[in-house]
């Protein structure tokens, strides 16, 4: 057996190994919610979303936002897009926080600053498939996705 034959055999072996290891996938899953969820976290900073049976702590997020209000007075708003990314914000937040789910964690994907250097006044989410719509108290509207602002409409 010459060297070339051994190489061909090795390459075929590798192809076999890789093909047998490829992951099984269900595609086109739509994670999107039809509406946002809003509520106040408890005194420990735990935020529970009953409709998803999901719970996480937002103390770290508030620290990042520099918000020092009483935790239970902060109304958090959360929505999920079709790709499964979570968008979190709240009154007087600087950013819309975009997270991706990971093993027992939410991994930051992006943080969107809608108004440069200004906090958001009473921001709210609506679904705007395949994107997310954010609107503020002054009726400004933004169409966003995980990567950034798609459209901004100041009224």
């Amino acid at each position: 057996m010459n060297k070339n034959n051994i190489l061909i055999m090795f390459i075929l072996f590798l192809i076999f190994i890789f093909s047998s290891c490829s992951t099984f996938k269900i595609e086109n899953v739509k994670y999107g919610w039809n509406g946002e969820y809003f509520a106040e976290p408890d005194e420990n900073g735990d935020f529970t979303i009953p409709k998803n049976s999901m719970k996480f702590n937002i103390l770290k997020l508030l620290e990042e936002e520099g918000i020092k209000n009483k935790i239970t007075d902060i109304k958090l708003r959360i929505i999920r897009d079709d790709e499964g990314y979570f968008y979190i914000t709240g009154d007087k937040f600087k950013y819309i926080w975009v997270f991706k789910t990971d093993e027992s964690s939410l991994k930051l994907k992006n943080k969107l600053e809608l108004l440069k250097g200004r906090t958001l006044e009473d921001p709210k989410f609506n679904e705007k498939k395949p994107n997310i719509k954010v609107f503020l108290k002054d009726k400004s509207e933004f169409i966003i996705n995980k990567d950034g602002i798609i459209k901004s409409e100041n009224k």
Binding site: G35, E36, K51, K124, K137, K139
Partner: protein, 458 residues
Amino acid sequence: MSNKIYLVVFFYLLIPYCVLSQKSDAELFYDFKNELKLIQDNYKNYKNFKLSNENKIKNEFDNYLNLIYEDYTNSQSTGLTNLIPEIKNSFNNFSQNNENNKQLFLSKINNFLEKWKEGNNLNIINKVAKDYDFDVSSQIDNINTIKNEIESEKIDNYERIVQFLEIIIQDKNEILKLKNQIVELENKIKSKIQQNITNSNILKDVLSENNLRKELIFKLISTIVNEHKIITSSDYAEKVKPSPFSSDIYILLNNFMEDYINISRNLSIETDPNILTTCLNAYNDVISKLDSLFLLMENSNVLKKGEKEDLITKSQLWKNQIIPVFDNVLMSEFTSRNIPIVFFKTNNPEWFHKTLTEFINPYLNPSDEVNTDKSKSDEIRQKFEDAWNSIKEKWSQALISSKYLDKNKITEIDNKLETWQSITGGSYKSSTIIIIIIVLIGISLAIYILLKFKRKET
């Protein structure tokens, strides 16, 4: 003043903040859920309000009834007439409150349905509702059902209750008048009884007064019993109290029967048939009226426990006093004529019919040994017919009212007597005709012989 201006300005600024603040789809959905819950709570409140109003009406009705009954003790009171407008006003308020409550709730339902009718809002909440497996349309259907239920509810104007109370107030005067008349008659009759009534004219007066007393007592009973019926039929009398006159009824009836028992002691077979008939009619009338009224009287608490039994015992004593006199009078009609009749006397009034038929029937059978001697049979028949005609003339009414005989049975006896007469009287007639024929033949033979004898002589 300046504070007020600040307040106005503050609220003015607040209005756009509250009203114009745009809501997210989820917030709209929560609004729907909250408003739905509010309507459902309002429905419970509406029902509770109605229930509590019904209870208030029951209490109010009871209070007015007490007020009227308490006023019975004060015969001079004129307060009850003035009470009628207050009663009307009070129940009108209840009705108005119910109507207002209904309209208020209906307007809330209509606002809710208008807000969430087919259109943009409904599409949004339907969309968000999917996140929560929430069926919006079935909830709206439920609210429509509630709306239909409330709309079809008829608000009672409580006119009937007001009418009942008015009747009861009017009854008061009638009842007081009746009671006074009865007591007055009672005293009058008692004093005459104590004087030992032997004079038939005085006895007739007493019986006539007693008859009036009886009618008034039963009028009083029926007024009180009807009053109770009206109250119970109102559905608002929680626990119907007996009329304040209920306790008097037993005493009045008891005294009446007691007096009649005393009067009956003076009766004998020599008593004027009219007097005895009046006494019998009074007894029969009281018994039949009490029979039909006992249940109603007990239901309306006119009679307390044991009082009915007392009255039955008393009526039995009355019966024992009067019925034997009547029986003796009837039997004397036969015995005084020496009619060999056997009396099948029992406590059942039908004994008299049995006695008559058992006596007549053998005479109607031509082969019976009693018919061997037709002239004797006819003699007995004539006596019996005399007695029977005398009984019919004097006691027909008493016989019927005491259930001894009815009209059919009287006719039946009359028919039997006719048959009896045809049997005995028939033989008498035929023999008479034969005798007359023989006499006529004899006379014509005698004339013939005489005429023949004269011809020979010439």
